[in-house]
Symmetry: C2
Subunit: 673 residues, 2 copies
């Protein structure tokens, strides 16, 4: 799945009782310039919550209040109880910032969501078609009187967000006021609660390193750090879950649980909802003691007090990763010399490289996942010509195929099932209103993934059941060439993805095509489907052997069709002729591409060779699993779709070998003549 | 020339009376652990200057003084009078930082220069094998007592350097003290003076935009800026020189002159050595009035006072480019709301895109430059087998060839003329001690460039006059493939070089080879040979049509040989099948590559095709110029060396067309049989 977060939209839609998606067909946008204003049925009346919020604002003596879209862990995907932006504005898009003053309210969001915002918001809200903090700040300066204060919840601001507001408000004589009690929560009477479910630990069979080993390993890194931190604060939800080999269900599709960890050289404090920890789990965590390998359980909401308390101890220094630590925690670590920062905590950088067991089980999960996707593609091939499949039934079916696989734990995000022009919206998920029947006349894109106890998957295939146009074939082939060029490239260990991702675009650029999303992101072992900081984005870390990333170039033709080819690959060492420490990718997603859409004449011989090797791997690994599961029809389908393509040899040897053949033929000719 | 600055070394060597280069053969490094210490003849006695500097330090009540390697304009190449680091330490390398305390002295430099430092420094100096500011700061914290101050010249610190020291000294209870009078200058009795020569203006034939037009254009950008700057401060030497179409001779090989400009919406203040401005130039600059298009000439040393004065005016806001503004100027622009920053000033970003005239004359200069290089290569081919050529005589000869070309203004940097193992040191320039005879048994690398009134050139060719090894051929061919892959790639306007430069490395990576320098840098019109911010470095701006950059992958085998293939190319628009606003490179360096070193079997058909098109261009453009200059022998040599290679067609069409031929032949065969 490409990296911007829209999957939340569906959940938020349910939350606000609003089932209208981003792309509904009805022309029902609000018109606030009429008297009385015209509001579509999809608009949410926000007068009451605004009125109540302003009561809270007056009590705090602030003239404006900023409401971001994230949670206290700066998560990419949030739980319904953190959907404060949607509650206040009615707008359920995944990206945006709202600001409320004593007499105005405004929402900032990007172009993907402008139509949706006009449909969901009432006339209490201005829509600002910008997303920069400088634009929010300019608006604040024009609306907030000099000398007044602007409130924000420091738990929902990253250090960078706070810094950016500060720079932009600098010397404007308006200042930020950090208010740790969230004002929206005070007026949100029906705010969803934290799930009551017990937390779980991973079974031993999917684990190589116990939590004790992980703790020791991280402590070694703390000891090795020249700045000698005494404590490490973990804020991102996957940091704590990874460290203790535990999982929860607090965020849709993401098996995380609300938590923080403060790991010192001789203590471990785990902040979470203690009532969700069973007695068995307490034994597992060694929770009844206070030694170096005892996990002391503390209430989730007590993190700030405990952290404050810890930094009053003499000689302590707390290490934080600035990308995932919120401003509330940062601002209590004073004075400055009690703080040590890096972009990412050592837990995130350690987790980025999978251990041998994690690598093996993540590969295994992808083999079973391939069986599910192959089953699904075969079903579509039969069902679509009969005229009964739609985007929604297809999405249901692929989920069902996955659910039958061993250790399945549901989808890893809301399936993107998009036909024809719907696929041109890279952030599309089908709704009742937008649902399209699948036909042999349209291209179809399906981007889906599964959670398994042993791994998280994410794969996109684009298919056509009829006769694709030349342009569709060319675009598809060039997207495939991009995927292959990244997959087969050889590079020194530590090379950053952002410096190689143009290989995914180059064949498209050659004919003036491109795509507007990222080229790939890390994936987890039963974790987030976007597992940062691995991937091809500019803030991602360099590739090392053992990292997993998606590779997903695409092409989108507005109002016509969309193409994306996404595979997950693991970074592996490769033997080169002269050098050491070189790496390449090994693709672990094992589903064939639509042959009908490949224009063989465009592929280089190296690309062709890669493709045939990849198909051999599918035949061997998925073939065995299909046999295992007794899926004979699926196996035949797979074999048909992985027939080797005719290969001529490498582009250099082509010339010489074919010239030899010609020479030979001509020579024979001459002899005979 | 790859982007780290060593050309200064030669000048500095002359300055300190030290002619020993970085790579002298004698094992004459100092040994400070002996009693008395052993010092080679190349070591400089620095006791006197250290003693005198410490007197100055005591007078200022500081416990340490930091001496960087740059000048007040943060120039990459500096004038002899700015070589304070060399004067204090004896060390003449181009990169380093020195720190003097009341009883110790230490130099930080990178691995390229460790041997050189051990040869040039006496035992007053510790050598710290690191270059990070955090390492300098750690040393300072251990050597400077708590509560004491560390002095620095704010004219020699960038904002970033000052900030980095500050962060690293933060909460250590040692603070930085900005001292605008340089303490080294106070003890440097024989400090070279500013050249007395008159400044010059460019002739009209090489200019499209007058300085008045440039001023208006920059003022328009100031007016369009939403932060409404009232003034623009220009600090980099090429900013002022470009704005006024003027040149000087203050820095070896770089036609710059010491200057700053403060451009406001209705005034122009030019800070320079006024005595070097002729009456004619004063008329040209309209220097006798004070209006919006009058240039008011102010003394170079009065910039700080005038700037301080300007910022006391109500409502002013000064725009600076942070990459080239020194801390001394930055710190007087207070309060903060009088300051507007961007990485680069609008002059640097405007200058980066050459106008039509600049493009044309820069292309023209490259045609004449190619004649000189071809003459040189032909001469080598004759002279080397006779056994009389050396690295030094070759360097002299190429300079001589260039000097005969129209509008020549000397070399644009010290020629890198390197045979065999010497070429493996990417920063090598020959000296008397290291000078190697050129033979048919060694590879030879020559990286050289010229200043012409109409343009600056920079080209590297690597040749072999005997029988290269298979490894040499493979490495050369893969370097060439890298050069071609960048040159022929098509990309959207605005793509950053750093995101494409791996194309220059990919063919090398494939077999585990790589190189350790940048892949290219902008070049100027009779300006710097490294003209930032254009190029492939991480802090360079995105490519736009009209920018010129070098493309220079390489490979270096320690103690054996070095390969670099460098061309200058201009970014040009390209028509694509589907999209608009796509660009590619058009190579303007026009000298053939050594055919003997190309392994044709490695090239793709696209690379081969590019190479043949390039050779066609050389034949047409350089052929005409050789005819013009009546250089018949050179023309024959050029034609021989640009014979087209056998081409088979694109890799895809290879297969089909050659298969057709075979089929045809076989069909004929059958008919006959």
């Amino acid at each position: 799945m490409p990296s911007f977060s829209w999957l939340l939209a569906l959940y938020l839609a349910a939350l606000t009782g609003n089932t209208d998606g981003a792309v509904a067909r009805e022309s029902t946008e609000r018109n606030c310039s009429l008297t009385p204003p015209y509001l579509p049925s999809t608009a949410v009346n926000t007068s009451l919550q605004l009125e109540e919020l302003r009561v809270q604002m007056r009590a705090m003596n602030i003239s404006a209040y900023i409401i971001p879209a994230t949670d206290a862990h700066l998560s990419e995907y949030i739980a319904p109880r953190d959907a404060r932006l949607a509650f206040m504005t009615g707008f359920t898009g995944s990206a945006g910032t709202a600001v409320v003053t004593l007499n105005k309210a405004a929402l900032w969001t990007d172009s993907r969501y402008w139509v949706q915002a006009e449909r969901q918001m009432d006339c209490n809200w201005e829509l600002e078609k910008d997303v920069s903090i400088s634009s929010v700040a300019e608006w604040l300066i024009s609306e907030v009187p000099k000398g007044d204060e602007i409130g924000f919840d420091p738990f929902l601001f990253s250090l960078k967000t706070q810094g950016d507001y500060n720079i932009n408000l600098d010397s404007s004589d308006r200042s930020l006021k950090s208010i740790t009690e969230n004002l929206v929560d005070k007026v949100w009477k029906e705010r969803p609660s934290v799930p009551p479910d017990n937390l779980t630990r991973l079974p031993d069979r999917v684990i190589q390193r116990t939590w004790q080993e992980k703790v020791e390993h991280i402590r070694t890194q703390m000891g090795d750090n020249p700045y000698k931190p005494t404590g490490l604060l973990l804020s991102a939800l996957d940091e704590t879950a990874w460290l203790f080999n535990m999982r929860g269900n607090d965020i849709p599709y993401n098996p995380f649980f609300y938590s923080y960890t403060l790991l010192t050289m001789d203590e471990i404090w785990l902040f979470l909802h203690v009532e969700r920890v069973t007695e068995e789990l307490k034994v597992y965590l060694n929770a009844s003691c206070e030694g170096a390998l005892c996990v002391q359980l503390k209430g989730y909401d007590t993190i700030l007090d405990h952290l404050k308390n810890y930094v009053t101890r003499p000689g302590v220094k707390v290490w934080i990763g600035t990308e995932y630590t919120n401003y509330a925690l940062y601002e209590v670590i004073t004075p400055q010399d009690k703080l040590l920062t890096s972009s990412y905590s050592p837990v995130l950088t350690t987790k980025a490289v999978k251990d041998e067991t994690e690598q093996q089980i993540l590969r295994d999960a992808h083999v079973r996942d391939a069986v599910a996707v192959i089953q699904f593609l075969m079903w579509l091939e039969k069902t679509v010509p009969e005229g009964n499949a739609t985007e929604l039934t297809a999405a249901e079916y692929v989920d069902k195929c996955r659910s039958k696989q061993k250790d399945s734990r549901g989808p890893s995000f809301a399936t993107i099932s998009a036909s024809g022009p719907n696929a041109a919206l890279a952030h599309y998920s089908p709704t009742k209103e937008t649902n399209r029947r699948l036909t042999v006349d349209e291209m179809y894109l399906v981007d889906s993934g599964g959670q398994y106890l042993d791994g998280t998957t994410d794969i996109t295939r684009t298919v056509h059941w009829g006769k694709p146009t030349e342009m569709q074939k060319e675009a598809f082939t060039r997207v495939l060439m991009g995927n292959i060029e990244i997959s087969r490239t050889i590079f020194p260990s530590g090379t950053r993805g952002v410096n190689m991702e143009m290989l995914g675009r180059r064949a498209l650029w050659e004919v003036g095509l491109n795509y507007g999303h990222g080229t790939g992101h890390g994936v987890g072992n039963y974790f987030g489907v976007h597992e940062w900081p691995v991937g091809f984005q500019s803030n991602n870390i360099g590739f090392r052997a053992g990292m997993f990333t998606s590779i997903e170039p695409g092409y989108y033709k507005e109002n016509d069709f969309g193409i994306r080819i996404e595979d997950v690959a693991v970074v592996v060492p490769v033997q080169t002729k002269y050098g050491n420490n070189y790496l390449t990718f090994d693709t672990v997603s094992l589903v064939p591409y639509d042959r009908k859409l490949i224009d063989m004449s465009l592929l280089s011989s190296e690309q062709l060779h890669w493709l045939n090797k990849y198909y051999e791997t599918i035949r061997s690994l998925v073939g065995a699993e299909l046999d295992n599961q007794g899926l004979h029809e699926e196996k035949d389908w797979m074999l048909r779709n992985t027939e080797p393509f005719a290969e001529i040899g490498s582009s250099a040897s082509v010339s010489s070998s074919s010239l030899t053949l010609i020479a030979l033929a001509v020579a024979m000719l001459h002899n005979i003549v």
